[in-house]
Amino acid sequence: MAINTNEVTWVEPPQLGILDQLYLPAIAGGMATAFKHLLETVTGTGPEPTQQYPEEKPKLPPHYRGLHRLNRDEEGRVKCVACYMCSTACPAHCIDIVAAPSPWKDREKYPETFVIDELRCIYCGMCEQACPVDAIELTSIFDLTGLSREQMIFNKEKLLGVFDETVRKGTDPIRTHTGKLGPASEPAEGGLTESSSAQS
């Protein structure tokens, strides 16, 4: 559709004075600005947005969505109850869980294997939101590298290792949930329920 010419407003450029027409004062002004920035950077008085990256790590916000970790509970066991909620929620289908009957009395199942393909992951954080027991979380580790595709597939041990490392460094992410968690995170009353004991 053509523009209605009645709606077009022409803005005339202002009439230039002799100094503007000379260009030279304007050029000098522009160069003064450029030179001011140059001096500021050289003397270190100006803004210094540059981070010397490998030596100087960026301070990321705690809710940054980076590499996953599998949390441990107080006894050091994997917190996950193998409910498959995260792998169901995952839009990239990068989480692969094999559940097995839990060897512990406070839950029915536990993940025998828990594999995340970090190359497929889109770091959306939906697994974190879906998890009823806060077992999976995204940390602020962003510089994930590997020499092969196999190295980028993280199994349970690796993911637990990420937990240990972040706890050691004190870079725990902000919890998705606060307060009391869902029923699956609570230990069953009176030990195992019937169904779980039947399974085991």
Partner: protein
């Protein structure tokens, strides 16, 4: 030419080539650093000389001084991609032409004091400015061209001129380094510093550089390259003219095209920036265009032409263009310094006879090269201050602006120098005339009607009669 002279010349060429190429490398680093600083960044600071060896850890980083070295290695190791449909002969010839013309132009540029040999100044012009300075009477000035020819015929190496000078005045001091008579052996800060057509030679050869650009653009068989080459040829040819005009008055006053003589003239009198501010401005603008630097980098503007004339070049052939361009910058910066900023001269600090001996030679070398680096830094600062011209603006500036100014400047200066209305003070009319000419041309340009706004006129025409859809397409369907 005997064998010693030949060896001296070859060694000089080798040293100069190595020096210029080194500077070209570090010029590119300086360019990147200045770009970074102006934009509040840090710039390359990683590549040092540690070669990834922990034992050399001290040289790690090092302000990125290893960067040019790494860049050079990269250029050599990159894939040499030759597009299928290029004109092979010219495609290979173009980078060679671009680099070699730039290097040849550098041959006559002095970069230090080359003046044990008396300057070949015609004293008539000297008289036109002021009486000959008695302090310099011990230097031999050939009074006529006949005398000059005689001296030259007697000895092509000129060292005999020194002997003559010594005969005339036994007290003349000739600089010595470690007991080595520099005067006789003619240590040279320049490959052919005594060429009497110096400036003309530089202009002639450096305008040959456009052949490299045109050949590259044509042989690449790519429209971007061709556009770049077309623009480059039009631009370089246009800006040759104001460039030549801007130095005419300097040449008139010195009476020589010899760069060495021009520098010595300024050392004896005043820098030409004082007498010729307008000429300096014109020359500066013209060399920006000649070097394809922003704001005149239309031949290779990335946004419109990918890379301009060197779009299809890769690896070392591309590097040849880059080196040619930087060499061109170095040459023109030396020219600017030599012609308008006194060359090696700093009043009262570094003059003709002070400091003497080897110290003086070194000081002059440092001052000359330091001024050149300052000019190049100025080039790079301008790059981040000004916007690129549109092509018609570029042409308009050269043909309407700079050329008018050049003519006015030259004519006015010649009239002043010939009539000398204020006697000894007449020289100060020159800068005054510069300002007057600049303001006059600017003022006149303001009275000119503006170019019609073709977009606005288009709208008006549509306004008068807006064709209906039926009229436009109805009959054709």
């Amino acid at each position: 030419m005997n064998i010693t002279e030949l060896v001296v010349v070859l060694v000089t060429i080798g040293i100069v080539f190595a020096g210029v190429m080194t500077f070209v490398g570090y010029g590119s680093l300086l360019e990147r650093k200045i770009s970074a600083w102006v934009q509040d960044r840090i710039g390359p600071n990683r590549v040092g000389f540690d070669l990834n060896q922990p034992i050399l850890g001290l040289f790690k980083g090092f302000f990125g001084l290893g960067q040019p070295l790494a860049d050079g290695v990269k250029f050599f190791l990159k894939e040499e991609f030759i597009p299928k449909n290029v004109d092979k002969v010219f495609y290979f010839l173009a980078p060679a032409v671009a680099l070699s013309t730039a290097m040849i132009a550098f041959a006559v540029v002095p970069f230090g004091s080359t003046s044990v040999v008396p300057p070949l100044v015609d004293n008539r012009i000297d008289l036109a400015v002021s009486q000959p300075n008695p302090n310099y009477q011990h230097r031999v000035y050939p009074r006529t061209h006949g005398e000059l020819d005689k001296i030259r015929a007697a000895n092509p190496f000129r060292s005999e001129i020194l002997d003559q000078a010594r005969n005339q005045n036994p007290n003349i001091e000739l600089p010595k380094v470690a007991g080595f008579d520099l005067g006789r052996s003619e240590v040279r800060f320049g490959i052919a510093p005594h060429l009497d057509i110096g400036v003309l030679f530089v202009f002639a050869v450096s305008s040959l550089a456009v052949y490299g650009v045109v050949l590259a653009g044509w042989s690449s068989n790519s429209k971007y390259s061709l556009f770049g080459a077309l623009r480059a040829s039009a631009q370089l040819i246009s800006y040759e003219i104001p460039m030549g005009m801007s130095i005419l008055v300097v040449v008139f006053m010195v009476g020589s095209l010899n760069l060495q003589a021009i520098v010595e003239f300024q050392a004896r009198h005043t820098w030409f920036i004082v007498y010729q501010p307008l000429g300096c401005l014109l020359f500066l603008t013209a060399i920006f265009a000649e070097c394809n630097r922003l704001p005149f980098d239309l031949p290779e503007c990335e946004q419109e032409l990918v890379g301009g004339y060197h779009t299809e070049y890769s690896s070392m052939k591309f590097a040849c263009f880059m080196m040619g361009e930087y060499t061109h910058m170095v040459t023109t910066s030396f020219l600017l310094v030599a012609m308008f900023f006194g060359g090696w001269n700093i009043p009262f600090l570094v003059t003709q006879d002070f400091p003497g001996g080897a110290l003086g030679w070194g000081a002059k070398l440092v001052v000359f090269c330091g001024k050149m680096v300052a000019v190049i830094a100025f080039f790079m600062l301008v790059r981040w201050s000004l916007l690129r011209f549109r092509f018609d603006q570029l042409m308009g500036l050269a043909w309407k602006g700079l050329m008018t100014l050049g003519i006015l400047n030259t004519v006015g200066a010649v009239v002043i120098l010939q009539t000398r209305p204020l006697g000894e003070l007449s020289l100060w009319l020159l800068p005054a005339w510069s300002v007057i000419a600049l303001l006059a041309v600017t003022g006149y340009s303001m009275t000119r009607p503006k170019a019609p706004n073709r977009f606005r006129t288009g709208i008006k025409r549509v306004d008068q009669r807006l064709p209906s859809h039926q009229e436009l397409v109805g009959n054709r369907v």
